[in-house]
Symmetry: D3
């Protein structure tokens, strides 16, 4: 039995439920997914500011997972917030949904496009693509200008599907990456409509963590990603001290 914790870095429970469902559907029979919602942070992540403030709550969940025996973690926001910090903290592997989605897409052809929510988040997606070494494979980051918490409003699916279609026709994408955890359940439907593979990062990351655990692989901990040195923390965040 493998135990994976999938953390939704925002505080919207309904979204955590979708994410948990998609992750559990993606993994094998012997794997249990726990979907977690942080006790503090923003209701959705649509700016660098939101992302920065989502991290403490996310790290608290990782710390809880360590105590409770989680064997691996998924960070289920397309900005991969707090990924390096989480890797220092966790014993098992940690995977972000943007890195998993983008790397998975590279197995499916030469180029992919990302379809995301608000245009203001495209810069972060571009940054991550460069950071993960897929800058050339990432043909475009397209926004449908629908806020994260309105992804289930009428018309949203049609708008997202239309943007995915444009990725194929205008960018020549071999595959499309959905750029928000909140789009996870649309994956199969859109793929069927547009006729190219569509990658949901939640499912991709859950499978990746599951595989890393199965292979006995986790973050190397002899250098940069060793456990952080213990030291005093002050104020509201004083509980975050490493022991």
């Amino acid at each position: 039995m493998t135990r994976i914790m999938v953390i939704n870095p925002n505080t919207t429970e309904a979204m955590t439920e979708v994410i948990g469902r998609c992750a559990q559907a993606a993994v094998g029979a012997g794997t249990v997914v726990e979907a977690a919602t942080p006790a503090m942070g923003p209701a959705s992540i649509e700016s660098h500011y939101d992302e920065a403030l989502a991290v403490p709550g996310l790290l608290a969940e990782i710390a809880r997972g360590e105590v409770e025996g989680a064997q691996g973690y998924v960070i289920a926001c397309f900005g991969d917030p707090g990924l390096d910090a989480a890797r220092e903290l966790a014993t098992g592997p940690v995977v972000g949904i943007a890195e998993a989605a983008m790397r998975t897409a590279t197995y499916l052809g030469r180029g992919f496009s990302v379809v995301t929510t608000l245009g203001r988040t495209a810069g972060r997606a571009r940054d991550l693509a460069e950071h993960y070494g897929v800058g050339r494979a990432c043909l475009a980051v397209r926004a449908c200008e629908i806020p994260v918490l309105e992804l289930e409003s009428p018309g949203a699916t049609a708008a997202i599907t239309e943007e995915c279609r444009r990725a194929v026709v205008e960018d020549g994408a071999d595959a499309v990456v959905l750029g928000c955890a909140g789009m996870a359940e649309l994956c199969a439907k859109i793929s069927a409509e547009i006729g190219v593979p569509v990658v949901d990062g939640v499912a991709a990351a859950a499978r990746t963590v599951e595989s890393l655990v199965a292979l006995g692989l986790s973050t190397g901990s002899r250098g940069e990603f060793a456990r952080p040195p213990a030291k005093p923390y002050t104020g509201l965040l004083s509980g975050f001290q490493i022991r």
Copy 2:
């Protein structure tokens, strides 16, 4: 039940057996691995020449797999020979062990080194690292100068382990990638000795293909990777005609 074909692109059966064993050990309970040896080609792959001539036999195995219902394929040579051609041919996903190993290693820290057999193959590994977008993460390609078919000779394991140790100390690698399918069974042992994660591409690629099949993902087939146009083939290779 998922059926994956793992193809050893050289013609040495003993190596196919090792590869098959490692791949089967890596995947989940519902997955069956068929390890295949081509009917033509070189006994081992240690040059661009060997690699080029391994491809027809490899593609013949893919064609056979298509007929027999394979759902995904692993190309089990660290040069990832014939990968793009195989993707045109196969209905399911195709993954090379170099790309799987290198991409898997990027989840384990900032940098990895590759430890391979002969120094003359290091250029190909470097090329692939650049091509897959992990050129910066790939800190070094180290050769132990042991030919592929002598990896089981006395002293070989010690020499490989020593080179892996240097990758950690001298390159500052967070993880080590084994640069030959013939090293697959050494993975756990070396990792235990040197204290950093060691990635075997055979296991990594088998898990990756299994995951892609589970997620319903395969190569995008509307552009570059569409089935090749039918046309006459002449001479020895005339049987390779696409219909």
Copy 3:
């Protein structure tokens, strides 16, 4: 009169004092520097974890600065934590000491090396160099393995100076960048000893912000760096809500 806020993202007051002194010494007569220490966060920043948890306190200082009329901000930690988020929040320009130091060094020759505290922070410095486009100019990131809060211990200056000297001799650096705000006061002394320009990011960033204010330049706010959309924040961080 120009008012610049220089924020030390850790909670060690003694370090804030050094930083404030160096920043004030660097700017022109008409500029007043306010050095700020966050009310929450780690005593020093030596890991991705520390850095992530320093950000909320840092952003609270930016928010306070906005209310009190600060015209520009320096983030005085070599990891440039929270920089993008701060730019969304602030009306005036925000500059990190790593970006200011590295870009300033590019005016001084072809290549520079960074001399930093602990080796485990070198990866972040490398990341930033790539992100800022100075990856090729950055010849090396060298660590003297002295923790941030021991930079004033006996022998520390000598060890740092020695590493700077090696940057010149072994890397062929035209200039050296000091990779920690806590080294700010050593700048002139080391430069005199080794005979090449040495850049302190605190001074460089303070001058850069002062110049941006003088030129009437601030972060473009029509796209990615527009003020974050208002939304509910939960838990400990609920006070961070944008209005």
Copy 4:
């Protein structure tokens, strides 16, 4: 007297004739071009699959050339198939028409565009441009969607010329590279019509090989490109064994 072998990697004799004529016209008086057609392989190369299966026949021609005293070789297909393997095998220099055309174009201005046959081959051209270091200079790869064996059909020349014209107007290309050996004879005509230099890879590669021979230069053979180690080959390709 310099003897150069120009190998058409497909099995269409009519195309070999055009290629041979263009190569012979390009070289100096003291150089004899032998145009060769492989005894096995595809009638044209329009996919990764075709390209992979063209290589054995091509390498057989190189082996024959070695016996018969060829001093240098051109691989006359724009995918440069088998180039690295051929360099291991040949004593003299080996040049692909894509590398020769692209590098030649870099002497003619800042940027060039490639005009090729089918869109599905554009990815390979892009790959090669990156691999040869001309990714930035290569402004676009444009396809006219005419199959290789229909390049002499009515309307083909007009369509290719039109695409070349767009390269100048829309891409701002200083020069155009023809992306198929089958276009070799159109070069002068198109250049005259559009008023910018047009590079045919067959001519460019023939001149390049001739120059390398004249300068006494050939592939370095002390490392990666040393003669491949001898070993058993099995099956249809058993004749390809290195002795």
Copy 5:
């Protein structure tokens, strides 16, 4: 009192006056700007040829500045002509307006576009962007096709403003860089109209040099940028001999 020499590399006095005025307006109270016009060279710089021939006159001004006690230098042409040579010659720092403008723009957001005079100079701007490491941040180089000496003609400002507006709307630029010293005085006006920060290189470079002098920083002189070795110079340029 800091003395900065701002050199207009062309011989048009009226342009030198504009440049001097903008530079003086940008620096602090304690800094005196001397604007200089070379005694030889082209009336404007609109080609590689003009740029190459502007350099001797520019270097003569630097040599004069050294004798007269200038503490730093600005090269006020957007091609940054002669920058490396000037750095060898000068004791104090030397900054080009293209590097200052582009690096300054990187503090203002993710991406900027350059708006320049003639399209034929765009290649040089692109080259510099790559050389300075801002190739990715530089979203476009846009030309308004107005010659340098006609920038004050009726309609010029409107045309430049329109091109800046397109940079925002079509390129998504966070900031705009004016690509000619002759546009310096338009900066504030255009910024007010289009609502994003607009960077004038003359002001940016003047502030940068002033800051470098204040920080005690100048070109590293122990390697590549040491004073050039003395040697005979022949002909018209014999007066340029280093002593």
Copy 6:
């Protein structure tokens, strides 16, 4: 009969003679090389300053060549000074010896090293390698610290040969590029001693220009490299006005 002008950008006649001899030896029977020495400029080029001041004299030779019917030009200094300006001026192709040598070396294997004169010129060679897209292929730039005009002193050849040998052993270079026109005559001797191909840029560039002329190719002249616009030139350089 093809007429090529090979310009030595320094004023040392003895070096012009060596260069002319090597160029003439490299080209075919129907090509006449004219070696030219500028009437003004430095005796040798060993700094950015020297290089900048060599350009006017070099361009005057190009202008003379245009009048006298030269069909192509070689710029015979490893910094490729004035190359872009020369391309605007000349009707025929212009090739620098650094670009020709480096690009030629890329046909000979995966990596080459440059062996040059003074270490202070290595930065320029690195810059050019990046600019020409061979930054990855260029494994090292090695200096033997022998001034250009002392390349014929006793011991010089041995020192250069030794550095070439190190390039093979320490850098793993497949080929070596000689980084100074003054080393042209050593090429065959060093290659024979170290057993890898050694590229002299003078010979390589002469062959390249000869080939471009034979192929009817010259610099594209519809954009950036069109003839420079006519305008007044002042002072010593007033004779350089374009008509």
